[in-house]
């Protein structure tokens, strides 16, 4: 999910018909720049080198999304697939990683690990983050652990996400505290990129793997 604004221009993107290491190359109608979809970056043309701003988004079941956002609208084009993409998407978790960026580097965490530790506190170059996974909805989210002036540390108590500092309860999909002293507070989301492992490593060969 990207912001279409670049250097003050609003861009309109097309599928270019080109693939770069089997990854989608986009082209904008305004400048004809070629863009890498996976990197969000202009690769050739007038806006080469420009980085599109990624917007936090979630890949999640429809049931989970509409529960969280009852007023949501939904794209209504004709189907191109019949039930190929369901909550069984990660049935082979070793094929997938969750990618994220810090100021200096690119990181990834295997879904295999995330499924066994669905609430994972990390420090990405001193950026304290928490990775969360919800099996039912397949939501894989990342939030900042720094809230107001403190850095929270999260853990699972039974199936409930709590922070160790205040023992508040947090919704791992929305990042919102639902009970306890922090009730109503909202963790800031961080761009989380679920990706095929091979694809991620191809484009980010120096990505730092999360070590359990």
């Amino acid at each position: 999910m990207y912001d279409r604004t670049a250097e003050g221009h609003e861009l309109t993107f097309c599928v270019s018909g080109k693939l770069w290491n089997r990854s989608l190359v986009m082209v904008d109608t305004q400048t004809k720049t070629e863009w890498s979809h996976i990197l969000g970056r202009g690769m050739k043309g007038k806006l080469e080198g420009h980085q599109l701003e990624a917007i936090p988004a979630d890949m999640v079941t429809w049931k989970s999304w509409k529960t969280e956002f009852p007023e949501t609208t939904v794209l209504a084009l004709s189907r191109t697939r019949h039930r190929d993409y369901t909550n069984q998407f990660y049935r082979n978790p070793s094929d997938f990683v969750l990618g994220y960026r810090s100021s200096k580097q690119v990181h990834h965490c295997s879904f295999q690990h995330l499924m066994t530790r669905p609430v994972l506190n990390v420090n990405a170059d001193d950026l304290p983050l928490v990775l969360t996974f919800d099996r039912e909805s397949t939501s894989a989210r990342i939030f900042h652990r720094k809230l107001d002036d403190q850095v929270l540390e999260f853990h699972l108590v039974a199936e409930s996400v709590r922070d160790k500092q205040t023992d508040s309860t947090w919704d791992r999909v929305s990042g919102k505290a639902t009970a306890g002293p922090m009730k109503g507070k909202q963790l800031k989301p961080h761009v989380a990129i679920p990706s095929y492992r091979k694809s991620w490593i191809t484009f980010h060969p120096n990505s730092v793997p999360h070590r359990p």
Binding site: R4, C14, L19, W20, L39, D58, T61, L77
Partner: protein, 101 residues
């Protein structure tokens, strides 16, 4: 429910350092599969959640979901697969966005 606010966006932008992040990417050598780009998808049709039935998306099917300034939108994966559909140019919460797959 999260809110995307300008200062958060500034932080996200600040977190991206293009030259460092890109220094290790493979060389840009795209292959042409189809000679001409596909036309862009703009002004696509949307419906409210109440109007969704199984022909659009079922409960266990995946969507790409985004919320901006209190407006939420879902893009069912089962209709953005395929070269003609992989980029949805859209506007949400006052921002111009592209949902890409």
């Amino acid at each position: 429910m999260y809110r995307i606010q300008v200062q958060r966006l500034a932080l996200i932008i600040a977190l991206l350092q293009p030259t460092k992040v890109l220094a290790d990417a493979p060389p840009y050598d795209p292959k042409t599969v189809i000679e001409q780009p596909f036309p862009p998808i703009v002004n696509a049709r949307f419906v409210t959640a109440a109007k969704v039935d199984d022909s659009i998306v079922t409960d266990d099917e995946l969507v790409l979901g985004v919320e901006i300034e209190g407006q939420a939108r879902a893009y069912p994966i089962n209709m953005i697969c395929g070269p003609r559909r992989e980029i949805i140019n859209d506007r949400l919460g006052g921002r111009a966005i592209a949902a890409t797959w």
